[in-house]
Amino acid sequence: MKQLTVISGKGGTGKTTLTAAFASLAKNAVIADCDVDTADMHLILKPEILEKEDYYGFEVARIDPELCIECRKCREFCRYGAVNENFEVDPYGCEGCAVCTIVCPNGAVSMEQRVSGQSFSSETRFGPMAHAKLGIGEEASGKLVSAVRSNAKKLAEQYHKDLIIIDGPPGTGCSTIAAITGTDLVLVVSEPTVSGIHDLKRIIELAVHFMIPTVVCINKSDINEENTQLIENFCAEQEIPVIGRLPYNDIVTKAMLQEQTLIEYTKGSECLNESEFSDQVCQIWARVENILMGVQDKQKGIKTLKMKNL
């Protein structure tokens, strides 16, 4: 079984749009939406939930006012400033470390489990899907990403699928790391803006740090040809394949408003511009599939490289 994660470092470059398109092109895949903070894939794929599970993040400390003798020990030892002057715990500040429970001389502090979200195993028109909903302002989105990935694996085994396509979160932190570790290939969706180039460099550094083979696709490539060239040059220097360029096209928004993947939206379209765009996406997917088949074979596939100075 192979796993592909689509990431970008930067938000809004088109990860979910592309991943949803891949979902409609892949013949034997499970889809995993690991952007658990702001999951959007379900808006297009409209999953029918088969199984639902409560997700418990970190525990939260609770101080029993009956037992609290206001000795201030918990305030003194809490490194996150989560206990206020009235000896109440701020649930957003608490990291669930439980130090307060061991320093309290009167056993007034206990750790409580809290439901931080839900994870789902579902069925969609393109096959099985694993996804989740993180509660508002909850911690540990990385942990929930791991839960979604393990559900995706179970679905793949259950339905004999040989590929998991993961839509990753923006950024380079905890949830992104959880979404890429141990995958076979990372596809970075980049955009030719000054910010896009900066974020691309950081995300590639992250993929290299975890030694994951990486390829790049440039979305909205015609909004700034000069920057597109800079991305191409940078990737060539780093020996990272650029497997496609997609021009800016408002069918992306149109398809989204119709709640369809752009492959569905452009099917049977008479409009040359639309069918051309959709063909380009199909070509990118074909390249990704070929690389995934060849990843094991270091000769034909691609290799992870030590990063030169970024």
Binding site: T38, L43, A98, G142, T193
Partner: protein, 293 residues
């Protein structure tokens, strides 16, 4: 006054709004010039300075305390590894192993160790940098080390540089989880930037949930206005959420962004609009104050 610029969805224009607002407010040519500080809280991918081009200097290393185990003193009683909520300590038959990347630096293991075998040292999480000399706006940013997960710790360290006498603009990271809470918690006002598309609208509702939970007064900016439909405006109207500004889906703005130029520099007529928005925010806050009294 502290104003955070946030949005559930990435790529809606948080950095664009933060920069253009900070530049408009700190413009020397206008009679309203304020002392403005701009903070780039998107420490995983800080982009503000790409548009400002300031020379930066490091003002501090952000560190996390981590345990060092004296294997001579340790008798492998397992109390530390049993206690650690983050699985950063693992007791083997012959020694206790430590995984620094999992440690949150709570210090519990050192408190617990009956043999006093645990001392603490530091591991680096990232840096806080500042624009050299006197810049307008004053600019600070945090930068998280690659492969590091403790985003919120860097954001909290960055926010210690806020001067309460000045107007602080905070460019928040995307999403709705811990890094966003760390950025938006304790600000006076939050601007939510969205676009009126299926994803934009869905993520806006999540972001509204966050600011409401934190009890922070807020308003909405619709970016790329004209793209998509009217669902965001209808929602804001129904919910009584002020729409502070509409930035049209303008190729010129997108092109300036792609070149790393804040659009008020090339389209000065927008400065007034950002200043008007700032006034509207102050009025809204005054109204909130009145309600409380």
């Amino acid at each position: 006054m502290k104003i955070a610029i946030a949005s559930g969805k990435g790529g809606t224009g948080k950095t664009t709004v933060s920069l253009n607002l900070a530049l408009s407010l700190s413009d020397v040519q206008l009679d309203v010039q304020l002392d403005v500080q701009l903070f780039d809280c998107d420490v995983e991918e800080p982009n503000c300075n790409l548009f400002l081009g300031f020379d930066l200097e490091k003002v501090e290393d952000v560190v996390c305390p981590v345990p060092v185990i004296d294997q001579e003193k340790c008798n492998i009683c397992r109390q530390c590894s049993d206690f650690c909520r983050y699985n950063a300590l693992a007791a083997l038959p012959t020694r206790v192993l430590f995984f620094p990347s999992l440690c949150h630096g709570c210090g519990g293991c050192a408190v617990l160790c009956p043999e006093k075998a645990i001392q603490e040292t530091h591991r680096s999480l990232g840096v806080i940098e500042k624009a050299k000399g006197k810049s307008s706006p004053e600019f600070y940013r945090g930068l998280l080390n690659i492969g590091e997960t403790m985003t919120s710790a860097v954001i909290k360290a960055l926010k210690k540089h806020i001067d309460s006498r000045k107007t602080a603009i905070l460019d928040a990271p995307p999403g709705t989880s811990c890094p966003v809470i760390a950025s938006v918690d304790d600000v006076d006002y939050c601007v939510l930037v969205t676009e009126s598309t299926l994803f934009g609208f869905h993520d806006l509702k999540l972001a509204v949930g966050v600011v409401r939970a934190l009890k922070v007064p807020f308003g909405v900016i619709i970016n790329r206005w004209g793209l998509g439909d009217s669902r965001v405006e209808e929602y804001c109207k129904a919910e009584g959420i002020p729409v502070l500004l509409k930035i049209p889906n303008d190729l010129r703005i997108a092109e300036l962004y792609s070149r790393g130029i804040p659009f008020v520099r090339e389209m000065p007529e927008w400065k007034e609009k950002f200043l008007d928005m700032f006034e509207a925010i102050k009025l809204q806050l005054a109204g909130v104050e009145e309600e409380i009294t």
